[in-house]
């Protein structure tokens, strides 16, 4: 490093920060910061360490470094953290030894907002939570509110609901596959995934009017009946979707590089998955056949025929195969729903402002990321007294500190992508 005259050089932002810190410390009557002032490493050694006393046992374990370890900060603006997730990674060389996920960069307080909104408007607030599964986000509150209010959606409405959530599941799983490949450096599959997603999104826009935040469910039914444009698009899409899935599979499933980087990586056993609260495809890829659609059938799922698919190995590759199989299962369900759909109204008679009797209700659905549930309490007023959402990706991310030790830094993103978190849901 060449010596620079301290008088003439442009001040480094880190030095400015340190000056500010020194000034604040002096104002508080404390000694100046002790850490290696003047060293060329000044400002670098504490990257990632919280700027405050460490509070908990786990935090001290994570942020106390041993010989040869250092902290690496990924995110919240890292291109492959699927949003604004921040991971503090403790590494020894290239090997990850510990990991601490940090949340809250997208926290909007949706639960609190919903407690101040009427039952009808709650269904619009939950849309941007898990933004790749908006239909599922609306489904669970709709179920919970109908229980509270003691009404039943018409059967045609239930069939339309099942149809749109299965379509949503198809594109959500498709995107997960694309992102998984992208995070391991394969650029092509994500392009195909987005092409396929666009077809489904246009399909859902034809029935709901919007491409992403559908606002389609109502308490006691759905907003619109199926229309001609939707049916014609569905027919076209259905004719090509198997081929596009096959194309994607040809690119990935037997790809040597993909297999080499995913098999035997991030292995999650069934017992661990249950203990950590992992649900959905991630749990089934570990061999536990838990699916809310079978375990607590809601909507019309007890009238449909489908299998709960499981994989045995519980690694990243199994989670990928699980998504492929579930897409096929969803297409199978869509066929049955279109065959069996009855005629009739799509919306029950519901007053403009809903005031359920005091009570409690729990509504749970199987979202593409797992068990998504809503616990709603009514005190008889026009707004829910308490509105609690359990987002599956928030809970699934807990396994990251357990899965990562022993893997390389480059595999962090592959393992995280295989859990398929969506930060809108994680941060609520």
């Amino acid at each position: 490093m060449t010596a620079v005259d301290p008088e003439t050089r442009i001040p480094d932002p880190i030095d400015l920060d340190r000056g500010e810190e020194a000034r604040l410390r002096a104002a508080a009557g404390l000694a100046p910061p002790s850490a290696a002032a003047g060293s060329e490493y000044a400002g670098f050694e504490l990257v990632g360490v919280p700027d405050r006393p460490l509070q908990t046992e786990r935090e001290r374990e994570m942020y106390t470094l041993e010989e040869g370890e250092m902290l690496l900060n990924m995110g919240p603006q890292h291109p492959s953290t699927h949003g604004v997730l921040r991971l503090v990674v403790k590494i020894r060389g290239e090997m990850v030894t510990d990991l601490d996920p940090v949340f809250g960069y997208l926290h909007r307080g949706i639960e609190k907002l919903c407690e101040n909104a009427t039952y009808t408007t709650v269904l619009t607030y939950v849309d941007p939570m898990d933004y790749l599964a908006s239909m599922h986000n609306e489904h669970a509150p709709a179920i919970a509110f109908e229980k509270l209010f003691g009404i039943q959606a018409p059967r045609r409405a239930e069939y339309i609901r099942a149809l749109v959530v299965e379509l949503n599941r198809v594109f959500s799983h498709g995107l997960m596959i694309g992102f998984l490949a992208l995070d391991m450096g394969g650029l092509t599959p994500i392009l195909y995934s987005f092409i396929n997603r666009d077809d489904v999104v246009e399909l859902l826009a034809a029935i709901s009017g919007q491409r992403m935040l559908f606002n389609f469910f109502r308490v006691g039914g759905v907003n619109w009946d199926v229309n001609d444009e939707f049916l014609s698009r569905l027919g076209t899409w259905h004719g090509t979707v198997m081929k596009s899935i096959g194309d994607n599979e040809k690119l990935i499933t037997e790809n040597e590089i993909f297999k080499g980087r995913t098999r035997g990586m991030g292995i999650l056993s069934g017992k661990q998955a249950i203990a950590y609260g992992v649900t959905g495809p991630n749990l089934r890829a570990s061999g536990v056949p838990f699916d809310v659609r079978k375990a607590h059938p809601y909507s019309i799922y007890d009238e449909l025929e489908f299998d709960v698919i499981t994989q045995q190995s519980g690694d990243v590759y199994a989670r990928y195969l699980q998504r492929i199989d579930e897409i096929k299962q969803s297409l199978h369900l869509i066929d049955q729903i279109m065959d069996k759909m009855p005629h009739g109204p799509v919306q029950a008679q519901v007053p403009g402002i809903i005031r359920p009797k005091p009570g409690r209700a729990y509504g749970a659905v199987e979202s593409p990321r797992g068990l998504y549930s809503v616990y709603a309490i009514s005190d008889g007023g026009p707004t829910p007294y308490r509105f609690r959402m359990r987002d599956p990706s928030f809970i699934s991310l807990q396994v990251m500190p357990m899965l990562m030790p022993g893997h390389l830094i480059a595999d962090t993103m592959a393992i995280m992508a295989s859990l398929d978190p969506v930060m809108g849901g994680v941060d609520k």
Binding site: L24, R25, A27, A28, L30, S34, A35, A36, Y41, E45, L46, V49, P50, R52, P53, L54, Q55, T56, E57, R58, E59, R60, Y63, T64, L65, E66, E67, G68, E69, M70, L71, G104, H107, G109, E111, K112, L113, N116, I274, A275, Y276, G277, F290, A295, H296, R360, Y362, A364, L371, S373, Y375, I377, R386, R388, R390, F394, I395, L397, Q398, K428
Partner: protein
């Protein structure tokens, strides 16, 4: 559920049953032991913690921690309600039974200020670490509700010292910063802070 009340006559109180949920109430001292039995006893088989939520019943009332459990042997969700005093919001942690309760409990601590004894990572999860309020309590009002508040015209969004920037920065840099707030203080030994020359040097690449 009849079975449950038969097995735990002293602790469990049967509240109601609807088509797919069974509800019981437990005192907080009995939570861990009862949930352990519910999880491990093959007669119950509630192996999965589906949800854990905190509810605030308002000033003058109590908090409540609500667990939803899933069993493959019973056709209903089990809802376990645990009342927690508002003046002393402490309840035992269930992370020893389900590791996955960790984030649930961190969220409840962050949003409601309920302290889970035995949780080894009880810190804020959504709000920033220097945040002082518990936003999902019912006495934390949104700006729109200011007119409804007991002191109409004054917006009691936060404790005033949080908005005082001079105090705020002094708290940040002072080693005597009281975080968590005094009523929820977790004991942290002073020697545990790794800031200093020694740990800094170790982090350098050799």
């Amino acid at each position: 559920m009849r079975l449950l009340v038969e097995r735990f006559p002293e602790t469990a109180r049967d509240l109601w049953t609807d088509e797919d949920t069974v509800e019981v109430q437990l005192p907080r001292d009995a939570v861990v032991e009862t949930l352990r039995t519910l999880r491990d006893d093959p007669e119950f088989g509630f192996f999965m913690l589906a949800d854990a939520a905190a509810v605030d019943y308002g000033i003058g009332h109590h908090f409540e921690v609500v667990y939803h459990l899933f069993s493959d042997r019973h056709p209903a969700w089990l809802r376990v309600r645990v009342p927690v005093e508002r003046a002393n919001p402490r309840t035992p942690s269930v992370t020893s039974l389900w590791t996955g309760a960790m984030f649930h409990e961190r969220e409840m601590y962050d949003m409601m200020g309920i302290v889970f004894e035995g949780n080894r990572d009880l810190r804020r999860i959504y709000m920033s670490p220097d945040y002082r309020s518990f936003p999902q309590r019912k006495d934390f009002l949104l700006p729109d509700d200011a007119a409804d508040s007991s002191a109409a015209g004054v917006n009691p969004l936060e404790r005033p010292e949080t908005w005082d920037l001079t105090t705020f920065s002094r708290e940040l840099t002072s080693s005597a910063a009281t975080y968590p707030p005094p009523d929820t203080q977790v004991d942290v030994p002073a020697e545990a802070y790794p800031h200093g020359q020694e740990s800094a040097d170790k982090s350098r690449p050799a």
